[in-house]
Amino acid sequence: MGVGEVKQAEGYRERIARRAAQEVENGMIINLGIGIPTLVADYIPAEKKVFFHAENGILGTGPSPAPGEENPMLCNAGGFPVTLQTGASFFDSATAFAIIRRGLLDMTILGALEVSERGDIANWIVPGKRVPGMGGAMELAQKAKKVMVLTTHLDKHGRSKIVQSCNLPLTATEAADLVITDMAVMEVKEDGLYLREVMAPYTVAEVIGATEAQLKIEGDVKTFT
């Protein structure tokens, strides 16, 4: 990921990750994408025990090893050395995706170039500009029980990445459940996209003004600091 990320206030990535970590529940099987999603692991409280799934064939990846302790063959899907949690297992790529397609991931946390108000996600191609490929994103977005998208609210040109309808080729249709940006927390429901929280220091009016998608509001909109 990291395509078209706008320059943001210091610490916005960590704040998004900290808010995302609140959605994690004890016992979950979770896949973390590259970029801001990777940071979420740092904010999950110790009393919540979860298993991280890596699509290159590990269930139970742990924190980064100390410098000099790396096994170059033992890496996460981003290619960085990892350690193992107690109870971890290795398997081939077919099994890694069997876990995903079978619906056994409780949560996937991924980045996006665009998210639509019905939960369509575009995150793998900018035609003619950047064409990295979908990797495992289609399976993850289509099959995880809960799909959380972490992204900047605006692209590097200041345009809303939260849109009525995606312009870029899709990764998956009607897939996102929760979208967390540096400006807002938004929930995708059957009847549209709901603004649940704003990120300090933004106001509800500022978030609505910056968002191309139609944002619905019911009840209080909290502020996350």
């Binding site: 064939g57 063959m73 290619g79 081939d92 397609r101 490929g133």
Partner: protein, 233 residues
């Protein structure tokens, strides 16, 4: 291709293994982000001047790592992969029209290789429906659900990196370097394994063997990774 080696001792020299390679061929490559790419076989392909390759691999690794070197040295005309983002040379060559890239969702790529390796005529999946990934694929309805027909993948040669091989070709992999390797090992018309350690038949526990040696045609001794990893300072 007929086997010319003793089925209970498939260990050959790298020179003997290279007789199975030629320019313009299709090659399946095990590995993920370079981890599990066989370094010695790839280096030998570079040294032999093998080119015009069709590569089937999860990704194109990094410009100086594993299968990525073949792309950097312009030995590849087509790649079937899920991701090329970590190798900017692949993207540049694609944009310049020098490299044909066929993208496939990662888990579907794994299953297509597996299908090729296990004698299946195709697989049905709903991954990518409603996206450009469904383009050109036949749709098949089973009951009230719609699936895409995904076709099997095989190649003239499959190259694999294992931690240990016995002389029959029973394989054990190194942690997450397993990834695509057991699938690739099944799907080559000729499967060539590069092993960090070659042991006698009987030294591996039947319980620990991941790939049964019946899928393996030739084994060569690995000379180890000859690149610096992207995370190494």
């Amino acid at each position: 291709m007929t086997r010319t080696v003793d089925p209970f001792n498939k260990v050959v020299t790298i020179e003997e293994a290279m007789s199975h390679f030629h320019s313009g061929m299709s090659i399946l490559v095990g590995g993920f982000g370079g981890v599990g790419n066989p370094p010695t076989l790839i280096q030998a392909m570079l040294d032999e001047g093998i080119s015009e390759l069709t590569i089937i691999s999860n990704d194109t690794a990094f410009p100086h790592i594993g299968v990525g070197k073949l792309v950097t040295e312009k030995r590849v005309k087509k790649v079937i992969a899920s991701h090329i983002g970590s190798n900017p040379r692949a993207g540049e060559q694609m944009t310049a029209g020098e490299l044909e890239v066929e993208f496939c969702p990662q888990g579907i790529l794994a299953e297509r290789v597996r299908a090729g390796g296990v004698g299946l005529g195709g697989i049905l999946s709903d991954i990518g429906i409603g996206t450009i990934a469904e383009k050109g694929k036949e749709k098949i309805r089973i009951g009230d659900r719609e699936y895409l027909l995904e076709t099997p993948l095989t190649a003239e040669v499959a190259i694999v990196h294992a931690k240990k091989a016995d002389r029959f070709g029973n394989l054990v992999y190194d942690t997450s370097a397993r990834n695509f390797n057991p699938l690739v090992a099944m799907a080559g018309e000729v499967t060539i394994v590069e092993a960090d350690e070659i042991v006698e038949v009987g030294e591996l526990s039947p319980e620990e063997i991941v790939t049964p040696g019946v899928f393996v045609d030739l084994i060569v001794q690995s000379e180890g990774v000859n690149w610096r990893w992207a995370w190494e300072k």
